[in-house]
Amino acid sequence: MMMSAEVAEVAAVAGLTVHHYLGVATILFGLGFAGVVSSRHLIRTLMCVELMLNAVNLVFVAINNHVNPSDLSGQVFAIFILTISAAEAAVGLAIVLALFKNTASVDVEDFSRLKW
């Protein structure tokens, strides 16, 4: 309980409100999305997906603190998201590995056999 009160004072002094956090989070989210859409390299795409998920963590924590600092369910959710994104990253890497083994390429452009 104590911890959050001090944090709130520091934030108030530095003039940081929840909208700043949300702003940063949305920017992060946007960057992640842009990264996924633009990158040709598979690993970079996976990393950008992770980035998007982390951006959402930030949103959760910010909102939790802003709306109901006493109950930490938002942060619990963030932790869950972390674990899940880790699992996803692992699976993603395994798939990229399999692709690389078959076609010796990690470029997204080579994987457009399934179309129309």
């Binding site: 997906v49 369910s73 938002g74 869950f80 899940i84 699992a87 996803e88 990229v96 078959n102 056999r113």
Partner: protein
């Protein structure tokens, strides 16, 4: 009696006590599935292929036991021993009638999928059957949990268990380029859309005043007269997540590729199990928003519905690959179901549930026939099916019934389900007649490509594969996999039966959404 005995002894133990006061008994099916999961996992470590093959038996046994426990749970409801809403694990899981009925349909579907995949897995990856079934059971477990999840965290975890395991399953044929490419697309697309879904959930979390449970939503939204900018963005993002899982346009681009690339049993799994679970999740999440801002949410969903109906049907017209065509047809059917969801009234959601039930059988039947076709003709191209009636008339009859069912032509359950769905939507508000007419016109277009396949099979000149089949003559008998044929026959019986004798099925799905059925429907009309 024997069960009561076991449960009495169990309760004495501290663990039993914990389960008891958290009435975890209602999670019996999930527990059973996790048990079977562990067993198949253990088997997957075994060296010899014979032990590996046993894992199919265990998976089947597990799901049957789960089915029995669900039916017993329904008995409790039916006999009134249990009051409707039974929240489990601090409100994380809502064991109400909606979750029971949806889990019942899910398990039925899963059993059919198991039958579909037996021969497929043994021939293609004999050494990894244990691992395959473990993954399949994890995905199924995720789906089961999703049906009852009444909390954001629980829903997200269940959704991702289902998601991630199905990414792996899609790419299970490692040396097949199509399968791995499909799983790549599925993973990246799934990752992004779950990120978007989470962003939406986060905003809803803020809106709901800092609690992740869905139960709190109705009060939180009761004052909100209109959806604010942030709230509407949240809803759209959630719809994006659901749209991905349910393969509704404009979030459908992954569906044709994944359906064509991944192994057919898994495609069946995706099109049936994950779609049904996603819809139940959508029902739980979106119903609180029904009353807000004169049905704006309903119109949003309606927008998605119309888009997917048009995209799904129109795109499927010129398809030549059977699985890709069924992919587009699932997009179209997602559109019809979303129309039911958009109406957001008790009987329209009931009709939606019934539609989902019939859809499970028709679609699994269609995929089973595609698999039989693959075994007979070793090709997924529709042209290969031409003139098949001369070789396998009874198979052509079954396949046509499934296709006509999907098209909504009479005496098949599809026709009845579509009729109930559209009728319930209009009965809620005459204004929806416009959407219904669009839906009917779209299903008229859909008849073209369904009938096209039947035409090729019945009228076409025998293709060289079919000629070879005729050459083999009767002795080729049914060297097809017994379980696959059994699954097709079950689907056929249900597709024909569920319509004509649909009275009981309809009652069950209506009750699922009635007042005492689901906690979530208190504020619905």
């Amino acid at each position: 009696m024997m069960l009561e005995a076991i449960s009495d002894t169990l309760i004495q133990t501290s663990f039993g006590q914990f389960i008891y006061n958290q009435n975890l008994a209602f999670l019996a099916p999930e527990l059973v599935i996790s048990l079977t999961l562990l067993m198949t996992f253990a088997l997957s470590l075994a060296k010899t292929q014979v032990d590996q093959a046993k894992s199919w038996g265990i998976a089947l046994l597990g799901s049957v036991v789960a089915l029995v426990s669900i039916v017993m749970h329904y008995q409790l409801f039916y006999t009134g021993q249990v009051s409707a809403s039974q929240s489990v694990m601090f409100g994380m899981f809502e064991a109400d009638l909606l979750s029971v009925v949806s889990r019942f349909i899910l398990t039925l579907g899963f059993i059919l999928i198991l039958h579909l995949s037996k021969r497929f897995v043994e021939t293609r990856l004999p050494s990894q059957t244990g691992e395959f079934y473990t993954l399949l059971l994890t995905a199924f477990l995720g789906a089961l949990l999703l049906c009852g999840a009444n909390d954001m965290i629980m829903a997200f975890v269940a959704l991702e268990t289902l998601g991630i395991s199905s990414y792996i399953l899609t790419g299970y044929l490692r040396n097949n380029l199509k399968s791995t490419e499909a799983s790549l697309k599925y993973l990246v697309y799934g990752g992004c859309s779950s990120a978007v879904l989470l962003f939406g959930l986060a905003l809803i979390y803020g809106l709901a005043g800092g609690s992740t449970s869905f139960a709190v939503l109705p009060q939180a939204l009761s004052q909100a007269s209109d959806l604010g900018a942030w709230a509407s963005l949240a809803i759209v993002m959630i719809l994006a997540g659901i749209g991905f899982k349910v393969s509704a346009a404009p979030f459908h681009t992954w569906t044709p590729d994944v359906y064509e690339g991944s192994p057919t049993p898994i495609t069946a799994f995706l099109s049936v199990i994950s779609k049904l679970a996603a819809f139940v999740f959508a029902i739980r999440l979106l119903t609180p928003f029904a009353g807000v801002g004169n049905e704006n949410v309903a119109l949003l969903i309606g927008l998605l519905a119309v888009l997917s109906m048009i995209v799904g049907n129109v795109a499927a017209l010129k398809q030549t690959n059977i699985k890709r065509l069924l992919g587009y047809s699932t997009i179209a059917h997602a559109g019809y179901m979303l129309v039911g969801l958009a109406a957001l009234t008790q009987n329209s959601l009931g009709a939606l549930l019934f539609y989902l039930a019939t859809y499970v059988f028709m679609n699994t039947g269609a995929f089973a026939s595609a698999m039989i076709g693959d075994e007979l003709l070793a090709s997924e191209e529709i042209s290969a099916y031409s003139g098949l009636i001369k070789a396998k008339p009874w198979f052509v009859f079954a396949f046509s019934i499934f296709l006509l069912g999907l098209a909504g032509i009479p005496i098949s359950a599809g026709f009845f389900a579509k009729f109930f769905l559209f009728q319930s939507v209009v009965l809620s508000d005459l204004g929806n007649l416009g959407v219904i007419i669009i839906a009917l016109l779209a299903s008229t277009v859909s008849l073209y490509y369904y009938l096209n396949i039947i035409k090729v099979m019945v009228i076409g000149e025998p293709s060289e594969q079919v000629q070879r089949l005729i050459g083999e003559g009767k002795d080729s008998a049914w060297n097809l996999s017994k379980t696959l044929t059994l699954a097709t026959v079950i689907c056929l019986i249900f597709t024909l039966g569920l319509g004509i004798f649909g009275q009981s099925g309809l009652l069950i799905s209506e009750s699922a959404m009635s007042d005492h059925g689901a906690t979530v429907t208190q504020n619905l009309r």
